[in-house]
Symmetry: C2
Subunit: 193 residues, 2 copies
DNA sequence: TCAATCTCCTAGCACTGCTAGCAACGCGGT
DNA sequence: ACCGCGTTGCTAGCAGTGCTAGGAGATTGA
């Protein structure tokens, strides 16, 4: 009884250990460096142990991604609640999103490039994903006007994601990061005059 | 003299053969299926031959990407020149961009996800990339208003890229593709009233 | 015809994700 | 306290990856 509980606790600890090890390794050297061997070395267990926790490497990346969505939702929430007027709230949330992406590049990769099979915009969508999306929805709601709110939210989020992605990939002219973000915010504020 | 010319011609043919084989294979089964062995089998040469043409697998993907940018520039150009008023031109160019991405998913991957070391927004940027960007610039120029034209172009392109990326990844609600594109276009048209 | 060059293939290296099979540990029942 | 048994986690190995060394074989010019 209590023995089994202790075991489950230890298993849960090791589960988290794997996820955080993968995340650290990815953030330090990129996802290419996250191999099952290096991971097993880092957690001080053999490789097969990984497969008793996750179905494979992709599942580990998905777990990291999920952690990322939870943190992103938190970051957006605190940016939103700390703001006053709708205009300011939007600017702050967008800035928080961009800052999150730049501060955790490997994590952002896991969320949007690696974990391709996380169910989005569906009934089975994990809570952290829904939470993050909701933050966008809430901050954009006052600005919707006569548009469809869900569509408007998706488009705004997409635009921000695109900006962050190309920025991080070195595909935009250097040194104009802030100007671009500001312009994007303005573009979504315009309808309010 | 003429012998050497023939050889160079044959080498060029084989170069193109590799690029088109990689593209076909990627489009048919995804980039994970594009291994040096399968590629060499497809072109009916041994693997080392690939390395006499390209420095490695990444370079092959970059060559495919370059081809993609050239085709994208063409598609955008014909969409733009076929249009009348600035509003219509923008809508048509955006639609052409999205259609290109959906029609050639693996090619789009090569352009924006795989080939991470293509120099963008720099003096050494390859001509096809500049051409594609120029199409955006030209179609957006009449809509710039008091914004900085280059920045405006980059932001608009980023937004469209983000929409396409999340759409393709199944991260947006299904069945609203056209509505989203339309809303994005409207969003960038608004300043003109 | 012969030597030289150049092209291209076979074989192999170090690595990847993942799995089979076994040894040893720790548990529950007597 | 002991012993059988189930569980845990290891070693070893498989098929496949990108890439390269070395040597055959064909093609060239003299």
């Amino acid at each position: 009884m209590s023995v089994q509980q202790r075991r489950e606790r230890e298993r849960a600890r090791r589960h988290d250990l794997i996820v955080s090890a993968a995340r650290e390794l990815a953030e330090a050297e990129g996802w290419d460096a996250v191999t099952t061997r290096r991971l097993s070395e880092k957690i001080e267990y053999s490789q097969p142990v990984l497969y008793s926790h996750f179905s494979g490497k992709d599942a580990i990346a998905a777990a990291v991604a999920l952690e990322g969505f939870a943190e992103l939702a938190d970051a957006l929430a605190s940016a939103r609640t700390g703001a006053g007027a709708p205009r300011e709230a939007l600017a702050r949330v967008f800035a928080a999103y961009a800052a999150f992406a730049y501060a955790n590049p490997a994590l952002y990769d896991a969320m949007f490039t690696l974990a391709t099979d996380l169910p989005f915009a569906q009934p089975t969508t994990p809570a952290p994903l829904q939470a993050a999306f909701t933050q966008f929805y809430e901050v954009l709601a006052p600005l919707v006007g006569d548009r469809e709110a869900g569509t408007f939210t998706e488009v705004a989020w997409s635009a921000l994601h695109g900006l962050v992605t190309l920025e991080r990939g070195g595909r935009l002219s250097v040194g104009r990061r802030d100007e671009r973000l500001e312009l994007l915010v303005e573009q979504f504020l315009i309808p309010l005059g």
